[in-house]
Amino acid sequence: MAEETTRLKVTKLGTLSLVQFADRRILDELVLQEIEESLMKLVAERDQPPRLLISFSNVDHLASAALGMLITLNKRVKEKSGLLKLSDIKPQIYEVFKITRLNKMFDIYDTLEQARASL
C-alpha cells in the first residue's frame, strides 16, 4: 500500500514504512517543512515504535537544513524506541554526511535490499 503526498511516497511493508522523496533537491525551506511534517506524522501516528526506511535514490542535492531535519527525526524515532535506516545515498550526498560526521549517527546502507535484510 502506498500513500503519496506531494513530497513523499510512503509504502507500508508490514510494520515498516518505506519513504521515498519526490524532490531531487531537498533544499527549499517550504519543501523541507512539508517533508518534516509528513515524516513526524509517520512517527507519531502509531502506538508501536516507528520503523522507517528512507531511500535517497531520487535525491541529487541536500542542504544542511535537511540534515537538521533528519537529526530531529532520528531523535523522535529513538524516543519511541523505533528504528530509522537510510539507503541509496548518492556518493556526492554521502560526502555531505561524511563531512558532518552524520554517517556515524545514522544507520546507512548502500541499497534498499541491504537495509531491509538488516531488519
Binding site: 542535492h61 537544513a65 552524520l102
Partner: protein, 144 residues
Amino acid sequence: MSDAPRRTADEPMKEIVVRNNLAAAKLPEEKILADVTAAGYGEEDIFAIKLSLEEAMTNAVRHGNRNDPTKHIVVRYSVTPQRTVICVRDEGLGFHPELVPDCTLPEYIERPCGRGIMLMRAYMTEVEYNENGNEVRMVKVNQR
C-alpha cells in the same frame, strides 16, 4: 569602511541585489552557476559552488536578515576559468563564526543546525568573513 571584507577579489566583480527571501535568493545562484558552467568547471566543482552558495544565501536570509522581507542581500561575484569568487552580504548585525559550535563534536552532534558553515568550508577553497561577520567571501579554484 568597517564592514568591508578583509580582502577583495582581483577580478572585476558583478553585483546582484535581491530581496530577503529564499525564492529571490535563487536568482544569483542561477546566474553564477550559468557562468561557472560556461567557464568549463567540472561537475564536482559545480556541486561544491551550488551547495556553498545555497548555504550562504540561506544563512543571509534566515540568520543575517532574520527573515525580514524589507532587507536585501548583496551578492558580488567573478567567474574566471581559474577560480570563482563569491561574496554574500546581508544587512544583519553579523556574527562570530568561531563561536558557532563544532557540530562534529559528540556533545553537539545532535544539534539540528550549524552545519552550513562547516559544509562551505569543506567544499570551497577559501571561506572568510568580514570583521562584522555580515559578509562571507568564498573562493573555489577550478580543479580541472
